[in-house]
Symmetry: C2
């Protein structure tokens, strides 16, 4: 279980934009200075835009900027925009697939529990938390 580069780069880009919030639109080229392949990054920013997390300004002097304040964007928003909804096992995502015996399946409850726990975890950290580094106070056991 690991994150793809989409999720990773997407978060890096969003952190960059959060740091520059208020400074006007940031060009793709500027963001790519983080060390990310620029044409690939362009795709990712497209996903972030379609998810409503960033706004774009087209034309010369254009670029990308956050669509909302940093305390209203969570890691969950970003990861879902980049990788689609977290889904550990299909049998938990509405449509019943594959599993003919979902009744009484001891695994099903676990998938649901884990999925919602991890979602909660991701949704509890905002960009603004990341910038101010107040992470780790929360406890999970």
């Amino acid at each position: 279980m690991k994150l793809s580069t989409r999720g990773k780069y997407g978060l890096y880009a969003m952190v960059y934009l959060a740091q520059k919030a208020g400074d006007g639109p940031q060009s793709l080229k500027a963001i790519a200075e983080l060390g990310l392949p620029d044409q690939y990054l362009e795709q990712l920013l497209g996903s972030l835009r379609r998810a409503g997390l960033v706004n774009t300004v087209r034309g010369a002097q254009g670029g990308y900027q956050l669509a909302r304040p940093t305390d209203q964007i969570t890691i969950l928003h970003i990861i879902e925009a980049m990788e689609g909804p977290l889904n550990l096992s299909e049998c938990t995502c509405g449509e019943e697939v594959a599993c003919p015996r979902s009744e009484g399946c001891p695994s099903r409850g676990v998938w649901e529990y884990l999925t919602s726990s991890i979602n909660g975890l991701l949704d509890s950290i905002t960009l603004s938390d990341m910038l101010s580094r107040t992470i780790g106070e929360k406890d999970v056991t």
Copy 2:
């Protein structure tokens, strides 16, 4: 972020073995009745054996059985055996790779926090919990 079939099938097989704990070794064929491709499952059981989670009895009347009591095997053990250690972003796993500016990188702390939270979550559920269905009392926010 999703689980591969390795993790999923591995857990299903372990749950099956947990249900049959004490009934002697269960053959591959019996386990595959869950609906899993048997030759593939064989590989997976090999991994579980090498991880010390199951014992095998070779020869006629042989099969697989849990190596430890059901309350001493957690989901984390199983997932790690099947997919390797959970690792969201490389830059958190000891060896420093890729990231030249790990100092002051706002993402780094998040990866570490999330990784250890999810590990804790997975490690808090045992096979015996799954059978008795006492899951969900724990709270994560």
